[in-house]
Symmetry: C2
Subunit: 356 residues, 2 copies
């Protein structure tokens, strides 16, 4: 079988600290299951690169990356060096958009051994997928300022939804729900307040539901939906949301399962025309950089999603099991501080690597 070619982009901050463990665990799994993976490292898409070159990436980044099967991505952002909107729009958000990674898929699962901040929940109680639209919506580049610097100053930013963009993410979500035993899909909306784009979203959801009569569909306004994440997370199976709503829910969801540091994110171009991108949900966390405290599980689990995406199901299952066993064992010297332990990035990374 062909060699999987992976572009490794650690980025900034703890991205550079967790990435080595992601690569090691992927390599260890590949060895056991006899999968051919080839890694190539890139130093662009980092604020350090920006400081040297005045841009987050070289102008030919697309040519450099397009032939890879996947991008394995750490985290970007050092707000003290480069404003976040500049660093993110110059890297991660560019990948998502220009490589048309229109599906952002994020699991939300209460893992064994992880302390849940919600009272009385146990593994199995929280187990759902968030499907986030990843290329349009509220994350737009259209808008501007008028009467700048005066009291009349007005700033406008346009949310853009297209039928193509909305329908393809909904179809993906309906299909995913169909593949699950409960066949339940929840749509995040806010059509009572956001009066043009969100009723449109609702309309497309109803329309698409006609082709999937077997799906139990419901919808919640985003405000009460976040409340239900805390109050009754067990009701959810697959949730679909716009770019912004998906973003919010996929931080809140993992927080409800104990720590966002273990959550992965797959940015998928389902047609395989462009490389898909796999990353942890957490960011660059400038406050804990250099302390060897970063939790590498988000990065490692993102690698697991990479294997899964390319059809290496057995290997992916084994890697997830290895993560679960380490969490279940809950040795204080192994778990990082965000999970209540005293371990280091290295201790936790090594434990998982060995477990594989």
């Amino acid at each position: 079988s062909k060699t999987l070619r992976v572009a490794v982009i650690p980025g900034d901050g703890i991205g550079t600290e967790v990435m080595p463990w992601g690569v090691k665990c992927l390599q260890a799994t590949a060895k056991v299951f006899n999968i051919a993976i080839e890694f190539e490292h890139f130093d662009f898409a980092s604020c350090e690169y920006y400081q040297k070159h005045g841009d987050m990436m070289p102008s030919n980044w697309k040519e450099q990356l397009i032939s890879f099967d996947a991008i394995y991505f750490g985290a970007v952002g050092m707000p003290n060096l480069v404003p976040d909107d500049v660093s993110l729009w110059g890297s991660l958000l560019k990948f998502r958009r220009e490589f048309d990674q229109y599906v952002n898929l994020r699991p939300c699962r209460l893992m064994p051994g992880v302390k849940c901040p919600l009272a009385g929940k146990k593994p199995g109680d929280i187990d759902f997928w968030i499907v986030r639209e990843n290329t349009e919506g509220e994350y737009s580049s259209i808008g501007g300022k008028m009467f700048e610097g005066t009291d009349r100053e007005v700033v406008i930013q346009e949310t853009v939804m297209s039928r193509v963009g909305v329908d393809r993410i909904l179809r993906y979500a309906f299909e995913l729900a169909k593949s699950r035993p409960r066949k339940r899909l929840t749509s995040a909306t806010k059509s009572n307040g956001i009066s043009i784009t969100m009723p449109y979203w609702d309309g497309r959801v109803s329309e698409m539901h006609k082709s999937y009569p077997e799906i139990n569909l419901d919808k919640y306004h985003i405000d009460i939906l976040t409340a239900h994440f805390v109050g009754r997370p067990e009701i959810f199976d697959v949730i679909v949301g716009s770019n912004l709503f998906g973003d919010i829910l996929s931080d809140l969801g993992p927080a409800c399962t104990g720590t966002i540091a273990i959550a992965p994110s797959a940015n998928i171009n389902p047609e395989g025309k462009f490389p898909s991108l796999f990353e942890p949900v957490h960011g660059s966390a400038p406050d804990i950089v250099g302390k060897n405290l970063a939790n590498p599980i988000g990065m490692i689990w993102a690698g697991q999603m990479l294997l899964q995406h390319f059809g290496y199901i057995e290997a992916a299952d084994a890697l997830l099991k290895a993560i679960e066993r380490i969490l279940e064992r809950s040795e204080a010297s192994v778990l990082t501080p965000d999970m209540g332990g005293t371990g280091t990035t290295q201790a936790l990374g090594e434990a998982i690597e060995r477990e594989i």
Copy 2:
């Protein structure tokens, strides 16, 4: 002292069920503290009204209401009868905008006797205010559709922020933070993704901070901010956010304190040029209408905010204490099902009325 004139608008669904208890508790408090309040009831701003008249309100609603000091408002929305965007933009959102109630103030407090869904939290641990911009931002009426009904369909909605609109809500939030012992203000942003309006918001926050050097200011992107609501709610004191972010946080916050059914909301026109509006955070809850199960505390606590707003501090404190004592006593036959009890709207309403 002058008579407080209050327009009572129960609206839809459980709004009509909790309103009588709100009025009774306000009357009981007014009696004890010798406050002159006069109530006048209005049946418009309801979906029933819409079905009869083809509009949520009569064309002269403004003339009818403008001379009142306050509007005491239940809830609006019956999506099976009238689409939510039509009913809300025709009532509540119209009040907020046309009566320039630009401050939406919402307390978030873990009350004694209420079961907290977050593990290990006790009353006192969660106690903060959400200050929400209430007239502009993401809730805009500008935008539209193109290529309707075709595959090229595009829908656009514009977020609008003005210097006047942003600065006045920030000033209110900084002033509120200044009045609190911890003097801490948190700004909700998303300037890494929403690249035009949110960096503008951040800029105005920094600018305003110069006039309030004594305030401990921080900012979080909305995604991680929702995560912190679950993980470490005790860090917050005053939070300021845009219309949408404030909306989300003020459902999530109360959910973290046990039930959104007890949370109140004050829609304030600080200059007193127009009536301010006081309402529960919960909506019309069509699913539990007619069952006598609705929790009246959100409505009653909104009445408490009304008293507070008009300077009846002693009376307001007494009313809040009465609510707290009933919650603390936690009699199963008094508490409504959302708080784990078996009580009815009436049982809980009466208990508080008696306690006053």
